[in-house]
Amino acid sequence: MGFLLVAVGVVLLLSGSWYGLFVSPQERYMGDVQRIMYVHVPTAWNALLLFTFAMGCALMSLWRGGWGWDAHHEALLEGAAVLSALLCVQGAIWARPTWGVWWDWDPRLTTTAVMFLALLGILALRSAVDDPEKRATWSAVATIIAFVDVPIVYFSVRWWNSLHQMQSSPETVSAPFIVPLRLNAFGVLALMGGLALLRARVAARRTARELGPALEPLPAGALVEAR
């Protein structure tokens, strides 16, 4: 399942990128630089999506328990961290030719940086706790708290920097612009989703090893007992 999704993602990404780079026409105002958007926007969508899924797994892991939720929680956190790091780099590459600077205190870019650091913090917490139970609970709580924080960060940065509010790129709605965007969006989703499934397997195996051979204790009848 994981490998299949990865393969689907690669095909979608290759075709979407080919379309975006060579088929789509030049955008009227941004010129060729606009083509960065065909990979940038899908990355942004999926970073948020993966973080949201991680939050869902965190909630389920707290509410229901179960190591499957915890393993997927870990995998999705890592995937979201990779995507948000990539997003910051892409944002810098986009900012340079359009605004003349590598970094811009745009609310979205800044929020992404904060989100990346928060995700790194949670992953660090996971690696610093040896007891699998505590690791699962604590990191789930940290994920929920960080998830609530992201919109607050976004709004506070927007207020903080209200002068820069209007630098959203010109809307592009016609089909030649939509097609590569959609292809790449589903491509990143399939690729990172597949990788998250594989990564969750790694986490699940590590937890299984930590928990020892038997997850259930021996039945009471098997013990030496005398009354």
């Binding site: 699998p132 139970e133 928990l211 020892g212 204790p217 039945p219 009471a220 098997a222 030496v224 007992e225």
Partner: protein, 236 residues
């Protein structure tokens, strides 16, 4: 007529990470009786006591503690038990008296100062009651922790290595307290290496080995049984 049970434990188990510190532990204790827990270091005595005091989450099995379900009604269990643990549970920067007064207030008791003074007297710390705990010796910390445990006036008193770090007068203090608690009709569970003392003080005995019940029976037979176990291990 059946006596109510202070403890009714069925297949209790707890793991730390991947290691099952306790598994499939089953026993019962009638109200008003005293149980001696014996076993080597790491055999699971402390884990069992902390589980029964609802300090740790149960990973498998069931237990009723003083009539309350340990898994579903941990708050009631906490109200009905008092645990003298390995850790002293004290705030080092506060004085012994302050430690007891705050514990009493958090328990919602009336006259906390009076109660604290009374317990300090009982464990022989009245003279040092206003010194910060950080200046205490290990034995004095043990006495303070004992005072804290007694402050709770719980129907089930659990003592983890009560004799540890104490001097001979301390030993007699513990013996006296256990007898006094039993006179009041309360139950006692005690984990200790002092097998002879435990045999003299308790009704029931239970030997733990590697997190399992290796033997249980009348406390009077404990010295023999635990001696056999220890001997066989040393031979192996």
């Amino acid at each position: 007529m059946t006596t109510p049970l202070a403890l009714d434990v069925q297949g209790l188990a707890r793991r730390y990470g991947g290691r099952w510190a306790l598994s499939g532990v089953s026993f019962s204790l009638e109200a008003g009786q005293a149980l001696a827990l014996v076993g080597r270091n790491g055999s699971g005595k402390s884990t069992l006591l902390r589980l029964l005091a609802a300090a740790l989450r149960v990973h498998a099995g069931e237990a009723r503690v003083c009539g309350a379900d340990l898994r579903r009604d941990a708050d009631t269990v906490r109200r009905r038990t008092a645990l003298l643990s390995h850790a002293a549970y004290t705030w080092e920067a506060l004085s012994a008296r302050e430690n007891l007064v705050f514990t009493s207030r958090l328990l919602g008791q009336d006259r906390p100062r009076e109660r604290a003074a009374q317990r300090l007297e009982q464990v022989g710390l009245a003279a040092r009651g206003d010194d910060p705990v950080s200046s205490f010796s290990a034995g004095m910390r043990k006495r303070l922790a004992l005072a804290r445990t007694l402050l709770q006036e719980a129907p089930l008193v659990m003592l983890d290595e009560p004799y540890g770090a104490l001097d001979p007068p301390g030993f007699r203090l513990i013996d006296g307290i256990i007898r006094a608690v039993r006179v009041e009709g309360r139950s006692v569970v005690m984990a200790t290496h002092q097998v002879e003392r435990a045999a003299a003080l308790c009704d029931r005995g239970l030997v733990l080995e590697q997190g399992r019940v290796a033997w249980q029976g009348p406390a009077a037979e404990l010295p023999l049984k635990s001696g056999l176990l220890r001997g066989s291990e040393e031979g192996a």
